[in-house]
Symmetry: C2
Subunit: 120 residues, 2 copies
DNA sequence: GATTCATATTCCTGGAAAGGAATATGAATG
DNA sequence: CATTCATATTCCTTTCCAGGAATATGAATC
């Protein structure tokens, strides 16, 4: 993966938030909408942007599209995601996203990384 | 400093190279031109871009403009510059830049971080 | 004070991308 | 098979930025 592609993905706030939340585990679009509190088009387009550049992968599950980070992310991506996570540790927006995620999937919070709960 | 501003600066190859080389120490525009082998306008504009966002600082020394990283870079910048350096450790373009830098200022290579040698 | 030198700025053009409104797709369900 | 639901795509407008050519600035030097 090219480093530049990664940085291009990182230079938009919505995409930063998407990637940050994805660090907790796979998630579907409807959950992103609730967590980020942003319109569907916006979420969907930015996910497409990330997907086109290989930063996320998708799997269709019935009506839902479940997005996740690549199973084996290249070193550059891993390094930058770790760096991002570190940088936003005290950022209210990013932390609010995380706490909303945990409210959405409280049963998963205990059992390791969150999964998309659409099927429940 | 806003994290987004940093990422915006990082999503262009020329700026990545400038920042990477600046990690070795202050440098003037003419040296950047030689090291990156890019036209003056391009270098100058990207340095202005970085400067406008606070990623670099300038000092005039006679005819030369000496650019450097901020004396006390905020944590987000430090983290990302370290991450960048790590990611390009095996990248031929970035490593060629470094070796050109050392050829330009061999006497400085030994004595710690490189300084702009225009005054010599 | 005219010239030179290093660098910055302006003016242009083309392309990318963000955001929203509207519409399309495709799976599930009645 | 018509509808609903979750999501994607298209179309549009606006803004931003990259790159190059030409020109401007400002310090130094003759």
């Amino acid at each position: 993966m090219e480093l530049l592609r990664i940085y291009e993905c990182l230079c938009d706030l919505t995409r930063l938030r998407l990637l940050h939340v994805l660090g907790e585990g796979p998630l579907c679009v409807c959950h992103f909408q609730e967590i980020l509190d942003e319109p569907q088009v916006k979420i969907s387009k930015h996910l497409a942007y990330l997907r086109a550049r290989g930063l996320v992968e998708v799997e269709r599950v019935g009506n839902w599209m479940v997005y996740e980070l690549p199973a084996k992310p290249p070193a550059e991506l891993r390094a930058n995601l770790a760096c991002l996570q570190d940088c936003v540790r005290e950022n209210p927006v990013f932390q609010r996203d995380l706490s909303r995620l945990r409210k959405l999937a409280p049963q998963l919070a205990a059992s390791g990384p969150a999964r998309c709960g659409c099927r429940d």
